[in-house]
Symmetry: C2
Subunit: 203 residues, 2 copies
DNA sequence: GTACTGGTGTGACCGTAATCACCCGCGCCG
DNA sequence: CGGCGCGGGTGATTACGGTCACACCAGTAC
C-alpha cells in the first residue's frame, strides 16, 4: 500500500515498473511528453481501476508517466507474483485482459474527442466523461469531486489552459456548472451539458 | 481468407465481430468518427499485424472501423475457436496479450504526436513511422509502398487535407521525398527527415 | 472520343485559439 | 506576519491553419 500527495509520480515512463498499481482513492492521470517537452494527457484513472499493467503482457517499459492529481491511495501488486498466478488461474488473465481492452477503448474515445472542431464541445464531452456513471441519466444534478485543474484538462484536449478557463466561464455564466470551493465542481444542469457534449446545442 | 479492394470495410464499428483479422498484404487503417461525423484516424495496420482482437478479451463490440487503404489480403480467424485454444495454450494468450499491449503503445505514441504544435513536424513524424523498420538507420534512402493519401494522413494528425499537401510540397521542394508514380513514395533524405521529425530542424 | 471520379495542388480569406502579459485570491510555510 | 506558488480569470494581439473555391491530371468506364 502506498499513498501519494498531489503531483506525486506514481509510475515513471521508461522504467520497467515491476508492479501494477491499483487505485483505491483519488484520481490519477496518464501523461506523456512530446519531443519538444509539452505535456500530453492520455487518460484519467478513477478509483477501482488500475494502471501500469502493460508490462505484464509484453515485459516492456512503462510507456507513460502516471501522476496523482489528488492525494491518492494505491496498492502496488508485484508483477512477478501476478504472472505466476496468471498461469494457474485463467480467471485472472481474463480480468487483466478486460482491463487492457477497456483502456484501449478509453483511449479511442479520447482520441475521437480531439477530432471535434468545436472547442466547447470538446470540453463538455470531457466533463461528461468525468461524471459518475450512475448520475448521468438522473434528472437531478451531480458533482465531480476534486476535479482536474484547467491545466490538466487542457492537456487532455490539446487546448491551452486559458481556453479551458474561458469555456468554464461560459458554463458558469449559463449556470450549467458551479464551483463549490476548490475541491468540488457541481453540475447543476446535466441535461444541457449533455446536449452541449452531443453538439445539439452551441455554447 | 478474404481479399478487400481499396476502401473496403474490413471491420465495422458497433458490430460484435466474431473474428480476428490477420493482415497479409496491404495496409489497413483504424478509423473512428466524431459525434459530428468527422473522420478520425486511429492507427495503421501493416502486414503481419492483426486487428479486431479486442472482443476476444472483453466480448464487447468492435469500437472502430477498419478500412483497407490499398488492396488487401487478410485471414479471418473465428474468435470462438481461438478462445478455446487460448484456454489450453498459454503461449497463445501471451502472443495476443503482447499484440494488445503493442496497440496500446502505438496509440499512445500517436496521441503524443497530436501534441506537437509544429505541423510539419507532425507530418514528418508520421512519415517516419511509416518507413520500414530496417531502413531507418541506413544511410541510403528508403520508400513507402502504396503510401496513405494526404486525406488519410490528415485524419491521423488532426489536420486538413490541404495542410498535409502543403507540407508534402515543401518536402518535395527540399528533395527530402519524391513521388514515384501514384503507388510509391521515395524517401531520398532519411537523415533530414529524421531531424525534422525530432524537431532539430525547421521546415 | 467524352464524362466522371479520386487524388493532388494552390490562392484568398477569415476565424479562432495560442500566446503573452497581466491580475487576483487562497493556502501554506518558515 | 510576509512571501511564495498555484490555480484561476481576462484582455489584446496575431499567426496560423481551416475552409472554400477553384484547377489539374491520371485512370477508367462507356
Amino acid at each position: 500500500m502506498r499513498k501519494f500527495a498531489r503531483r506525486g509520480i506514481v509510475l515513471s515512463a521508461g522504467v520497467r515498473e515491476e508492479s501494477l498499481c491499483f487505485l483505491f482513492e483519488g484520481r490519477l492521470q496518464g501523461v506523456d511528453f512530446t519531443i519538444d517537452g509539452r505535456e500530453v494527457g492520455l487518460y484519467f484513472v478513477e478509483p477501482g481501476d488500475f494502471c501500469g499493467e502493460l508490462g505484464l503482457f509484453d515485459h516492456g517499459p512503462q510507456p507513460e508517466y502516471v501522476i496523482a492529481l489528488t492525494g491518492a491511495v494505491t496498492v502496488f501488486i508485484p508483477m512477478e507474483a501476478l504472472r505466476e498466478v496468471m498461469m494457474k488461474q485463467p480467471g485472472i488473465v481474463r480480468v487483466l485482459g478486460e482491463r487492457l481492452a477497456a483502456r484501449l477503448r478509453q483511449m479511442t474515445r479520447q482520441r475521437s474527442l480531439l477530432g471535434l472542431p468545436n472547442i466547447s464541445q470538446r470540453v463538455c464531452c470531457q466533463l461528461w466523461m468525468l461524471i459518475p456513471e450512475g448520475d448521468k441519466d438522473g434528472s437531478s444534478g451531480s458533482f465531480i469531486n476534486n476535479p482536474p485543474t484547467h491545466m490538466e484538462i487542457s492537456i487532455m484536449l490539446n487546448l491551452s489552459r486559458e481556453t479551458v478557463t474561458r469555456v468554464f466561464q461560459n458554463l458558469q455564466m449559463r449556470e450549467i456548472v458551479k464551483r463549490d470551493g476548490a475541491s468540488c465542481l457541481l453540475i447543476t444542469d446535466l441535461q444541457t451539458l449533455r446536449e452541449l457534449a452531443e453538439g445539439k446545442q452551441e455554447l
